[in-house]
Symmetry: D3
Subunit: 124 residues, 6 copies
Amino acid sequence: MYSVTIRDHFMIAHSFDNHAFGPAQSLHGATYVADVTFYSRSIGPLNTVIDIGLASEILSKVLEQFRYKNLDELPEFKGHLTTTEFMARYIHNAVKEKATGHFTGRISVKLGESPVAWASYDEE
Amino acid sequence: MYSVTIRDHFMIAHSFDNHAFGPAQSLHGATYVADVTFYSRSIGPLNTVIDIGLASEILSKVLEQFRYKNLDELPEFKGHLTTTEFMARYIHNAVKEKATGHFTGRISVKLGESPVAWASYDEE
Amino acid sequence: MYSVTIRDHFMIAHSFDNHAFGPAQSLHGATYVADVTFYSRSIGPLNTVIDIGLASEILSKVLEQFRYKNLDELPEFKGHLTTTEFMARYIHNAVKEKATGHFTGRISVKLGESPVAWASYDEE
Amino acid sequence: MYSVTIRDHFMIAHSFDNHAFGPAQSLHGATYVADVTFYSRSIGPLNTVIDIGLASEILSKVLEQFRYKNLDELPEFKGHLTTTEFMARYIHNAVKEKATGHFTGRISVKLGESPVAWASYDEE
Amino acid sequence: MYSVTIRDHFMIAHSFDNHAFGPAQSLHGATYVADVTFYSRSIGPLNTVIDIGLASEILSKVLEQFRYKNLDELPEFKGHLTTTEFMARYIHNAVKEKATGHFTGRISVKLGESPVAWASYDEE
Amino acid sequence: MYSVTIRDHFMIAHSFDNHAFGPAQSLHGATYVADVTFYSRSIGPLNTVIDIGLASEILSKVLEQFRYKNLDELPEFKGHLTTTEFMARYIHNAVKEKATGHFTGRISVKLGESPVAWASYDEE
């Protein structure tokens, strides 16, 4: 199995409206580092899993909707707890959709929220 | 599949009582960086794999028994070669046990011993 | 000249109320990684610049006031643009004050806002 | 499942003779960071997946043929696009071969080309 | 003293036409990670040393001339050994010139060539 | 001012025989990451501050005396608290001495003991 990963980052505000989150219930934020991995069993005549330039462009477009935003105010997240796990899956699905026509394999997303904590979502 | 990883570190001394280890036979030490990953197929109503605060606390308690210790002198390691592989599994099992009641999924542990070497243990 | 540096991190929300900041005018956030360095020409009988445990405790207390907060709502930042440069100096001054009685030398603060951007403040 | 990973790096020049690669068609280069992982279900009496010294030596020997080279001029790469994916598999196969007699399990190779892009090859 | 640093990277080929460089005499390459730091004693009404967006744009334009190039073929480097030290100063001077009108303070450049080696140039 | 930095690492055991060190009084250890920086105002005809190969060799020889050792048992450290600050200066002096004849400029040493703590020594 081959894979290619690209990294980008974005800065957002959000809050968690549930007492289970303790101090993180209040409005705070994060610099999220997103690593998106594309998997493929073969690499074709160009010896690539996916064009890295195209992959970076797709990820950048997906992240554009979050950059410098308060996730609490985005309609698509209304009623959702925007945890790192949730955001990893959301980014996964958005990249998957935008990559349609260019890439059909498995995609995984790892999302770092701090030097000591990260989450991931991986289709299986 | 979702996952959440938390990182902590600890400093220990140990030695390897077997000629196969060459210079590492003598008493030396390591700063170990432990990455513990919790896996889950679903994330429930809180959109979390596990409460990160709880997970960090569990890991911290597990590592407490090793912090600033000489592993050669710990009764639980008597007769064991405390390699990075071995320690990864030991930490895995201890986290698994301490997480009982809170988390029942798969757990993996990656243990870094230097910028160029690490080991991991992962149930399968 | 000797120095000792300790690292901690915190997550906040804020906005920049000035058109010069473009998209960063809207409410967003950051995971800030704070590196605080203590300098000393000599290290005394304990061969330390400062007790690392004490230094970490001081930094942690300083950062406590920001953790999971919206900086826009903190009275001490009313009317201030909480840029990374500004926050580096603010943390510097707060650490300096809290260290009084324990450490009298030069202190510098480096504050990372993303993998590709950071700021620092250093007395001179 | 246990694993051990070792890291090394090397610097090469190469070009991509296909218009799909855009500006990377021209002769350029890379500092490649190679992470080679050895997997094993058990760790035997020494509590190791593989001797780390031996593993490092094997990887170093494999990389020796590339260090400070122009990949375009190496006979073994004649007619091949030496993408990061391709190089990850090539290094995988070379390590696998050189490890024969010492290690028979699964091996994976992750090859970093920049702080924001990497590829991997993993037998399955 | 305040400072702001931005990071970017680029991939090049080059060779060192002098026997002192041993194996690095032959054509090889590097992924260079450039950290450019802007220093200022005061931060003005915007609480910034320099607009980060502008600084990133300036650095990107400077690096554009090197991206995916063979430094041996660039007329400006004819007869020069393009060591990391030399490149750090060259980038420093180019950033300094491009920043004219926007920033007049001290600038330093750190250029990483591998995980274990880097060089810097700093006006004094 | 130019500089060149090289990185190496080593693993040791030690203890701190003074109640001020709390839990670190007992025998433990560390993976130390050593960054040694060589400074020079000019770079001469080779455009280098120092030959990187030579610098790496010098550092490696200096660290050889510590690798896989218990610092408490080394005669040169008898009666000394081998803190990170102390070790940074010791390595500084040893590199300085070994570099005699090759390099006469300023040298600094940064010594990392964990992901969140490091010390440095710098002649001034």
